[in-house]
Amino acid sequence: MTEINKWVTHLIKNPVSIFPLIVFRITFGLILFASTLRFILKGWISDLYIKPTYFFTYYGFDWVRPVNSEVIYLIFFLLLLCSIMITLGLFYRISSLLFFILFTYVELIDKTNYLNHYYFISLMSFLMIFLPANKFFSLDNVIGISKKVKTVYAWQINIIKLQIGMVYLFAGVAKINFHWLVEAQPLTNWLKHQSDFPIIGRFFLYDATAYLFSWGGAIFDLLIFFILANKRWRIYGYFIVVIFHILTSVMFPIGVFPLVMIVSTLIFFSDKFHQKILSIMVNTKAHKSSEKIEDQHKNSYIMYLLVTFFVIQLLIPFRYLLYPGKLFWTEQGYRFSWRVMLIEKAGYAQFYIHEPKMDRKMLIETRNYLTPQQEKMMSTQPDMILQFAHYISSEFKDSTILETNGEIIKLGNKPKITAEVKVSLFNKGSKDFINQNTNLSMENRGFMNKEWILPYED
């Protein structure tokens, strides 16, 4: 017991240097700033949140809307502002709280835009609300909102390491599957189009390279946390982190995520290392640390909250086990699980609305309702197919249609919607994805198994 107690004290209650947390606040803040700015400059606010007429909301979060273009621009402006304030440590608590709320709100608007790295930023900005990252080298110090402190509790640093570790570990566990390890899919296919990659491109034409990358990637994800946590191996581990993420960022269009990880993993380095970084900018030696740690974790509600936060994160990736069928095909329980670059999937969906009496059907031209990106994401993901069917059904609810031959057709309260969907997984040829006789407007949304998804045949 005493061993365990010691260990707990070491990881949680020990007073440690605040420097790693400060460096993390500054670098992470800068990345938040850069990625938000990049998002704005690419014109994505308009492409993703203003142009679409329909948004694929998350189940239970249907109330999340972009409101209007002024509001969404204001939100992004505030995100920029908050990220600068986080970096400078100005009104840190409020700005980190506001950043978390606004960022998560934006991400909840449309699941078309779901990316694991946005999820990571949401989680990390949530954690930052509870960390005393403004207690040193901050404008809050200067204006007197927070006292200058040089020690914090060990958990206040380790919680960041835990969050990063979970990302890698789950990403690694997700790679332990037949396609990734035995077929080296989807990398086998992807690498073949990368043969013009600088220097090593010619090797991408060999299947062996795909296997090397697949296995290397899986081993990297599974072990990197432990390597970084080890004092002696840390420096080599970080070297691999940098190589791995730079390689992926050049090869795949994954935006700023590699940079986020390269910068975040610096947290694993020693206090001395962070002190050195900070000492370039500020005198870290002055005022020998004699002050007491502010007794923050007396607030046990926060502890309970954070424990729950991690337990939920631990369980969510396994929810797919509750569903029958092949995960990569049905994607039931796929999101929020650190499944990164695991599948190659493409689809094509045609929707029909049926008339009540003679059961004639009318083809819906999807492109009139969705952006190309929405259409693409929707055609491979059953929950989005269902949402779109419901949307079409409600658009045509109780409507009267005048046909060109003069016929008048009255549609009921819940017009029948069916869809023909072809999906190709890992380039094995397009196949029928859902039962094309199912009336989708009568199927409920939610977490229940979607029985109208056809089983995957290999």
Binding site: W44, D47, T87, L88, L115, N116, H117, F137, S138, L139, N141, V142, N189, W190, K192, H193, Q194, S195, D196, F197, P198, G201, R202, L205, M251, F252, P253, I254, F257, M281, V282, N283, A286, V340, M341, E344, K345, A346, G347, Y348, E355, R360, K361, M362, L363, T371, P372, Q373, K376, I401, E403, T404, N405, E407, I409, S424, N427, K428, G429, S430
Partner: protein, 398 residues
């Protein structure tokens, strides 16, 4: 206080760095013969690459043996059309009308060869809408002729100009050939209009041919390489551009526009036929143009050269290279077989498409099914095999 001044100076430095980022000097490859030569780069960062993969052959073959000769063949036909118009309007007669109709028919068939090359300069001037929009807005067209004023620079005139306006003007309903001659002898506005549309066609294709000559090197070396160093068929790369253009043209302008829409497939529950929406409604030459367009797409996919029908490096070889399969068959042969089936189907009809729509819909419906069957093969299977995203939107993935 020292501490405060440290923090404040850090803040200032940070803001200065942020400002400087905006005015950073661009680095890249400065060697013009490298694949990733960057025009914007001012400083070489040793990133130049010179490579030897098939993709280069593919793009070179498509550009040299299909795109360039097909553009110039169409350009020639438009020149001939233009000459026929000039000689016809100088003294309208039966023989001149015959020549004019023939040269129009030739030009339209040649148009089908390049209609799906909707990238680069063609995309830039929206050549497809300017050249072959149908149905023609006959009211607008007639009003223009009566008033003697029109402005083809304005895109609202796209549906009263181009090759389909000829279809109307040379095969005007209610006119015998003699009647048509009399009409053009007596109405100078009408002859001026003919002249204007053929000149407009000529200006557009001249522009596209000239621009293509300037741009084709970039195309062969992959447009995108100028920005990021290498392309991997990403958004904006040549492979991505040709495949997006091919899929869009087939799905939207051939399957839907040339056949589906006039058949009524997209017309509500009753699927009431809309035969006046066919291409070449007035001359009745819809089938030959649809067949020509699909055959040309087949040539292009198979990498055949435009003039001699040989087999060069094409998208089919690229699909084979990545072992793309559909139903445990080579994807390339699945696609080719499907195209052959479609061509057989469409070659079976004796009357014009608008007549067949009204009299023979059952047979046409099964032909349409075959047209439809090709869509997922190219839009899902081909694009994902070649690592191309079907989207015109820029975005991150994970």
């Amino acid at each position: 206080m020292r501490y405060k001044s440290f923090v404040i100076s850090f803040t200032l430095v940070l803001l200065i760095i942020l400002l400087m980022c905006v005015s950073c000097q661009k680095k890249g490859c400065t060697d013009p013969i490298a694949l990733n030569y960057s025009v914007e780069a001012q400083k070489d960062n040793n990133s130049c690459q010179y490579q030897d993969f098939d993709k280069l052959n593919l793009l070179k073959n498509l550009s040299d043996n299909y795109i360039t000769p097909s553009l110039s063949a169409y350009n020639d036909k438009i020149n001939i059309l233009n000459n026929s118009v000039v000689s016809f309007i100088s003294s309208p007669n039966i023989q001149g009308l015959g020549y004019l109709r023939n040269s129009w028919e030739d030009a339209l068939l040649n148009w089908q060869d390049i209609a799906f090359l909707d990238f680069g300069p063609s995309e830039y001037i929206i050549l497809r809408s300017q050249t072959n929009t149908f149905p023609i807005d006959t009211t607008e067209l007639q009003n223009s002729i009566i008033s003697g004023t029109w402005n083809f620079q304005n895109s609202t005139f796209n549906d009263s100009k181009g090759l389909q306006a000829f279809d109307y003007l040379l095969f005007k309903p209610g006119y015998t050939d003699e009647g048509l001659i009399t009409y053009y002898q007596s109405d100078t506005n009408a002859t001026n209009y003919l002249k204007s549309i053929s000149e407009d066609l000529l200006i557009n294709i001249n522009y596209v041919t000239q621009q293509w000559d300037l741009q084709k090197e970039d195309f062969i070396n992959d447009f995108e390489t100028t920005n990021t160093g290498y392309s991997s068929n990403s958004q904006g790369s040549s492979v991505s551009n040709i495949i997006n253009a091919l899929c869009l043209h087939y799905e939207f302008y051939v399957r839907r526009g040339k056949v589906g829409l006039p058949m009524g497939v997209f017309n509500g529950f009753s699927q009431q036929e809309l035969p006046h929406l066919v291409e070449c409604y007035y001359s009745g030459k819809s089938f030959q143009n649809a067949v020509r367009c699909i055959s040309s797409m087949r040539k292009f996919i198979n990498g055949a050269s435009y003039i001699a029908n040989d087999n060069g490096v094409g998208l089919d070889d690229y699909m084979n290279f990545v072992n793309a399969e559909q139903n445990s068959q080579q994807l390339s042969s699945t696609i080719d077989n499907q195209i052959v089936t479609i061509l057989d189907e469409l070659g079976n009809y004796n009357n014009s498409l608008s007549e067949e729509i009204m009299t023979n819909k059952t047979a046409l419906s099964s032909s349409y099914e075959e047209l439809q069957r090709l869509v997922p093969f190219i839009k899902v299977d081909m694009t994902s095999a070649l690592g191309v995203l079907i989207t015109y939107q820029d975005n991150d993935g994970d």
